[in-house]
């Protein structure tokens, strides 16, 4: 069974491109447009990894990840944050919330794929 990766970003084009890249690498993809949308789509199914933006409307990435980490089913799901925030304390906040890695936007898809391959166990 192929691995399911959730991508949370308010930019549809980013989701599309990342989606193409992920599917090309053999992953299944679940898309959500913001934190709230993403939470509503996490319904207990096995998600192998979450890629989330930080700056989003409705619910930002930090709040989203904080909540994900409180859900028993997703407590141990690794999270990669996508951001341009260079602010250390924000980064720290994201890590504290449970993010495992950071990919700084703008990025090219292979960089993200590389990060994902390190976190998704075979």
């Amino acid at each position: 069974m192929s691995k399911l990766i959730m991508i949370v970003d308010d930019s549809a084009s980013l989701r599309t491109v990342v989606g193409i890249a992920l599917k090309g690498a053999g992953y299944d993809v679940l898309e959500a447009c913001d934190g709230k949308d993403a939470l509503s789509k996490l319904t207990g199914q096995k998600v192998n990894l979450i890629v989330s933006d930080v700056n989003m409307p409705n619910m930002d990435g930090i709040a989203f990840v904080t909540q994900v980490k409180q859900m028993p089913a997703y407590k141990f799901t690794p999270v990669i944050m996508l951001t341009t925030e260079a602010d250390e304390s924000k980064k720290a906040a994201g890590k504290a919330a449970g993010a495992k890695a950071w990919v700084v936007k703008p990025f090219q898809p292979p960089i993200l794929l590389d990060a994902i391959s390190k976190l998704v166990l075979p």
Binding site: D10, L14, V17, A21, T84, E88, S89, A92, A93, P106
Partner: protein, 718 residues
Amino acid sequence: MSEYDSALPAFLDEAHELLAAMESILMDVQGQQPDSEQLNAMFRAMHTIKGSSGLFGLDAIVRFTHEAENVLDALRAGELSFDDELNTLLLRCHDHVKAMLQELDHPDVLASMAAPPLIDELKAYFRQQTSGDISPLAASATEAPAAAEQSWLISLRFGREVLADGMDPLSFVRYLAESGELGGLQTISTQLPGGDAFDPEQCYLRFELVYHSAMPLAKLNDVFEFVRESSQIHIFPLATAGRYLATVTQGQDEAEQQAVAAAWQQLGVVIEAEAEVVTEAAAVEAVAPLASNLQFAQAAKQASGAVARKTEHKETKTTETRFIKVEASKLDNLINLIGELVIAGAAANLIARRSGQSAQIESTATIATLIEQIRAGTLSMRMVQIGEIFSRFPRVVRDVSKELGKSIELHISGAETELDKSMVEKLGDPLMHIVRNAIDHGIESVETRLAAGKSATGNVWLNAYHESGSIVIEVADDGGGLRKDKIVAKAVANGLISADAMLSDNEIYKLIFEPGFSTAEQISNISGRGVGMDVVKRGLEALRGTIDIDSAVGEGTNFRIRLPLTLAIIDGFLVQIGKSTFVIPLEVVVECIEVPDDLKSDGTHSHLNLRGEVLPVLNLSEFLELGEPPGKRQNVVVVNYGESKAGLLVDNLLGEFQTVIKPLGQLFSHLRAISGSTILGSGEVALILDVPALIEFAKQKEVADFAGQTEQGRAQLH
């Protein structure tokens, strides 16, 4: 990147949406400070475009948007204040990004656009705003917080695992230093083990610090939001901190307690004796900061309640815009198919009726009803709000009025009125010309306005509404109005009319739509080249629309554009004249009456007394030169368009018919009275009558006859 090209249209759509949102915010605020939601939205626009551009390897856009994003970020952080100049700069950034998006196919052009002079202007503005002491805004920015600055004692005892959790304790201290002043910092290392017991991945240090800042306690608490659970964080007002020494050292060994006490003394905290000795009392005292924390918690709850309400508000907004994007060509294809279905349905209906079997007639009738519903539903998918066009005008008005040095306010109403998507695209240019014209020629200069006793600010109104199957769009201004004498003089000079022509007001006004016509003495950058208004006329004619003008000298002008609601399928009314069948659009039909006895007929033209109202009546058989004898029982179809009414004399009324409009070829484009054709159930072709043109013709004929009669009368007199 080629494998991602399929996502490019989505990127473009999204970027344009974001840019439109940014523009509308910039237009809304008009130099006023935007609220944080608006700032966030603008920041996110640049941020998202930058992020997505990076995915497609569009480095030029990344570089430019990065600069714009920096400025917006500074704005968001309160480092910059918003003013009219920045408003204009940001609008230009918006324009530039938009221009870059249009050059995606030309990488070299795009690359050259990465660092326009605009960037230097942005940077210059940034420098001027953030560093210069001269700037009163910068001065007040540093003064304001000084008034509310408070001193705190912060005790940070991080959890051992804080480093393993990916956090740098020092980053919090550095973060604090950014928005306030560190009055002193003591590091307590009593817990640091020696030798083998030391684990480099653990945090053994404790920090006690004095902090001066205007940051409210709630926000200060937030700084440590993510370490709160694993650490012991205490924040007290510096003045009363001495009471809580026991609280912060509770449960720790003596060495640490003493070290903390020493640190506090170093930091200038006056430790109150009883608290140091009596731990029970301290526990009671500890309730105080807890209570205060509780208060803050409540305040925070209220605040988050307000945020929740805001997000709720936002959610209703997003549900409104929860659309599925469909390629326009797919929808066009569907509508074509439904057109064919309508025709095929009509054929089936006809066959059923000929067969005379009631069961078959009934089932085809049911199908016909369903087809009608599908048709209505599909056509409504193509309907979009006219606000889509209107929304670009605030910007146009702002730019053009600035260029001309006029002060103009734009009022928009009826933006939610719907019309066919294909029309929206073609309506943009004609409307733009009319609005520019209204600003340029209509609204007078400030001096002229003041001299005429008007307000210095001119007004332009854009309004849209539905009226009897048409959509009406009005562009009005309170400017100088159209000068009939000037128009006539100019038209005569240009040879458009003869010097002794007798024209109605409306006819005079319509002269401005003739090619090569312009009355403005001074040719400006905006209009006045005489190409604008005839483009308007041609553009509207292509949409089967008409334009009327009302004007009063000194009071203003009102352009009223009338367009059919849809261009694809309409409800028609089928009539028979001789052996031919014609379609009259149902929306213009008012009533049908039998030919009254008192109808005075003289060839193609006659008139009718309709309950006291005199109506010109056009004999279609004569008018269309069908050359067939009139039927035995003729009928008059009363039609209405705008403010004009007329009767059309036909032989038979065949009833309602869903009409799929098929355009006529080039060969028939000169025909005035026919607007299109359709296919009947029998496979025959029926022509669709152009009612506005017919009414116009009936009226002209009447005027001409009347003139002829008076001539005759005069001849008889002499």
